[in-house]
Symmetry: C5
């Protein structure tokens, strides 16, 4: 995710990185060339004048506003719900660690608490890897005891298995008589929350906005943009290419942004920085049990959190 300080209003007009412009540049150039040709031939096509004016575009505008507005809102809701789920992951991880410290009598530095905290951290990394379809092995080996790491690697739903392990850790404490059922239920409540986070992320990752919407919106936007110069050429002459590209830029750019944030768990410029959140979880949880966090590799680009 691109994280930049808001700059001066004037300089912001010429930003290149972090804007969607590099992505859609070729399409805008195509639009510019087409509309220049149309101006050159004055809207004629082999001696046939295309009799178009801006009115029908006003009418289509209504449908466009509904499609774009809807798809934009729906996509941003997915993005923001994804962010909320990962924020809740940070919250519940901390709550679980606090419970391990205060509902039990275990000291912060004891092996049991460290093992528990590492399980919770591994859970976050495992979820990240599942959502991004990347290999969880290095993180699991770094954080878990070797045999557990091996078991978890074999299963399909890794975060769920880790959740189960956290549950068994709590169960053992109960069996040893260190906590009673009420404390166990308090842990269990937060495990339910984590289960909810996994399910929520899987839902967003697995169920896109109905495909038909994307097709319909996509088509409307492009037909609109490539018919527009015919509608404008009679009234604004050689300004047609400039205005067409301006209108086209706004619609095509929105279509492109929306397609990106619709799937918020990927690695595109506007996707959620899952890796950074995992590192924050690791740092925060280790701080709670008075341990140093490992040194994380620096960001690939200064303004880009992955």
């Amino acid at each position: 995710m691109i994280i930049k300080e808001k700059s001066n209003w004037f300089r912001m007009l010429f930003v290149w990185h972090g804007s969607v412009l590099p992505d859609i540049f070729p399409r805008l150039v195509a639009l510019l060339l087409l509309s220049s040709l149309i101006v050159y031939f004055r809207g004629q096509f082999f001696e046939y004048k295309i009799p178009l004016n801006p009115t029908p575009f006003t009418l289509i505008g209504i449908a466009m506003a509904i499609f774009l507005g809807f798809r934009n809102n729906a996509s941003y809701d997915r993005f923001w719900e994804g962010r909320k789920l990962w924020g809740a992951l940070l919250i519940d991880s901390r709550s679980l660690t606090r419970q391990a410290l205060t509902l039990t009598q275990l000291p912060a530095q004891s092996g049991k608490v460290v093992a528990f905290t590492r399980l919770v951290i591994a859970f976050a990394y495992a979820l990240k890897h599942q959502l991004r379809r990347t290999d969880a092995t290095p993180d699991l080996q770094r954080l878990l005891p070797p045999d557990l790491a091996q078991t978890v690697q074999k299963v399909k739903f890794k975060p769920i298995r880790l959740l189960q392990e956290i549950g068994l850790w709590v169960q053992q404490l109960k069996t040893e008589g260190q906590i009673d059922t009420i404390a166990q239920a308090a842990f269990d409540h937060n495990l339910n929350q984590l289960s909810g986070i996994v399910g929520g992320c899987e839902r967003i990752a697995g169920t896109p906005i109905p495909y038909t919407y994307s097709v319909l919106l996509h088509r409307t936007v492009y037909i609109y943009c490539f018919l527009l110069p015919f509608g404008l050429v009679d009234s604004i002459g050689w300004m047609t290419p400039i205005m067409t590209v301006f209108v086209g830029y706004t619609f095509i750019a929105l279509d492109a942004i929306v397609t990106e944030i619709e799937e918020p768990f990927g690695l595109e410029p506007n996707d959620l920085p899952l890796n950074s959140i995992c590192q924050t979880i690791e740092t925060s949880l280790l701080e709670m049990i008075d341990q140093e966090a490992p040194a994380f590799p620096p960001r690939r680009k200064p303004y880009w959190a992955d």
Copy 2:
């Protein structure tokens, strides 16, 4: 539900499967023919010129935007709430299985835990069959002991009965002294959640968006589209059929999509893949108790999850 990788922006303009185009094609052809006739007769009707221009269409546009925008949002909310309920079903099923493993002292492979897990899986399938009004018998017989399968088949609200059976399973554990009331209450909390999921699905399936809305929107869209060529013919001449079909495509397609996702539990191209979710639940729950999931039959079409 159609699940396709987003393709190149250019190729997406010509997608046929997964678009709503096949469905509404005949209506668009009718619209094309009508508006071609109107152009041919220059908007005259037995020597009477129909004196129409685009202005009234701009005014109706306001009402259209409200109707379409509202109905689209309301339908998508139903679709997405349905998806959330089924996501919650996955979440709570896993939580219940985790509780069966960690709140009790039962080993993962014990008969009791397996029976419990199968009850939870059967619950998901029973809900699917109730919502789709399909026959639950094969799934129930596959998952439940014969006598229970028979009892459940006879009742009207099958998932509710299965929920009751899960509650009785927990009760028995309590009677045997394996768990105390607190653990029972923790199970009960998740059973309440499942009860809420059933009720939520029944609500969506049983209460459509008020019928009057559909009628009103439907009428407005079609009267608008079939009057439009009269309004355009004087200013854009032979481009009228093309622009009319373009405008008509956007409105009629939206009307068609919305009618489809309004009832998200059916078997239309954009409906929710309840069957796939049931299979995910089965796979995930069986993995938690170290059991193999059965081999599911392959999808009928590669891009279509039912």
Copy 3:
């Protein structure tokens, strides 16, 4: 509430029952006559020409869109929240019955459980009667022991009193030592939910959308519609009555629908089928305790659930 299968797109254009048309027909006829007169006199009024064109109507359109859009959304939210509350009533009734069966040791057919279930069913009917201001006596007498029915009939807030009775039923079980405080608290949680449902319904029934909104919207819609023919007559001549009635139909129909669903607990065609939901609750709860539901009288009209 009108529940109809979606019919063919063509036949849906001519639906009469279930559409709001019968209701607003006289107003549309008035609008047709007025605009025909205006066309006949070519917009003149005792030799004075009314100098109006469509532009001001475009400007007012903005305010109209905000009013209609807002009031429509607010009304539908009330309708849908009402439906959610009644869905939650079904959910919590089932949960309570399940708790009566699984948190206690009472057998399904025991008198105590039957009495409890009937209390819960009576609660649903009592709420329906309170919201519709109808007489609860027959349903209370049918479901409750005579003396309790008499006590409840006398109080003002009947559902609240029944909730109290359910609470006392639970308390007695506790006094008899059949359940402990934890199970009692689990019951109490669901009683809180039912209390919330009553309060939520009372809120919707008692607090309309601020009256000023209705007045403002109503006025804007009617002034707009009756001024419109003056604005259209110069440009579209004898098509004015047709287009005016078309525009008027969309706005006036929306105003009429919205007024109807704003109060969702009544008996108008688009109101919630509270009676059917009560019957579903009765059927489902009796099925849970292995009892037959009584035969309900058939619907007055096949497509109308009251």
Copy 4:
């Protein structure tokens, strides 16, 4: 709050009470005079013709729609959230009273239960007085024992102190061995809810919609309305004043309504009827413990609940 039966659609056009018209009448008259002058001078200003047409107003319309739509929704959300909070107050008051009756062994008429119920009722009145900045003394003296009334009157956050007293009442029951910690926790859960209601009301009362929005919207509306006649005079002549006032009425009335419901706890015509809700709480709670409610003074105006 004005509560009127919806009247006939025709009579509703001429409603005066309950409409915002009396409030904004002088401004509309000013607008009428100004635009009449402009018509009289045909848009000239000391021989200089003001060259304006409706087009720029269409462009500003976009910004207007966003501002008005947003501020209207945000204000109504505040209004409705305030209503929900007071609905929740009714709900939780009843739940607490039910708990006092069913989680303890105290009889309904016992002094302890009466004292508890009066504490809960006093809490509702204290919150009303805090939000309206009125004097709570009479209601506190009426409901509480003299010494407690005196203590509460001295503190700044009165409802919070009463909540504490309710908590101490529960604590004493626990000390006396009448309830165990689980029942105390069940009470405590509802006290948390009440605490949330106080905080929610304080939030709405203390944090308006950012002031800058109001200024910006206000300015746009008035500049728009007072420039409008210059834009209309050339095309619609002496209809200008009528249409200007019509447009102005819709925008200025919306601005006025929105300013009113933005602060929903006051005493303006569309504010929430906090006093009536308090009386409903008192009536309902006293009915639960079989006591008569006092006779409340009649409403000042028949259609106005304060």
Copy 5:
């Protein structure tokens, strides 16, 4: 945050403080100069006439409405969610203090309760300082015992560490046998809530609205405004500068407001008054344990709560 009484509608038109006008004044002057130049040269540019009319601006208006409406709503949601989180902080702080008084047997003035209350107050201040990136040292030293203040100052996530300390305070009470596990779980529930508040605030502070949106909206607004005079000059002549600045004011002002409230935890005129809320928490909590709140320094400006 600027908190002003709503003034008379007429005086509100000329408000300077609290309006965004001072901020964007230079840009509006630039726009005024540019459009005056364009009027002077009658839209010619070195003898070339720029052939533009208002139509393309109507088309771009659709995209503008979507962008501005979306970004405005998304930003306000962030603002309001931030406010809700801080309202919840007040609520949960009070609930925790009430629990410390009523779930334990500790008297209000005892050292333990005072220490607990100060921990909770310090938590609020620590969160404020973390969000504003200011130095927490003075507040921590004022409220905490010296050694704890020193420990907390060293860690990165200060509020989380304070939460842990509150948890340890509860744990000690349990170890001393003053409370049982159920009361501890009731405390723990509210600690989970506080953990959620920290995470929620971190989420809003750490994840802006995707940068690409800001760039796209920003560009569209400014290109639109600086092209507009070319489009208006032919039809409204010397009124062009006035109307351009009016249109520009509405769009640029909205862009500026939105940028401000998007990050609601800062110190700009429309940001949340975190400091005031902290002081309210301190006053309210100390009042609950019958202690005097310290005298806070007066506000820097009478209408500005920081």
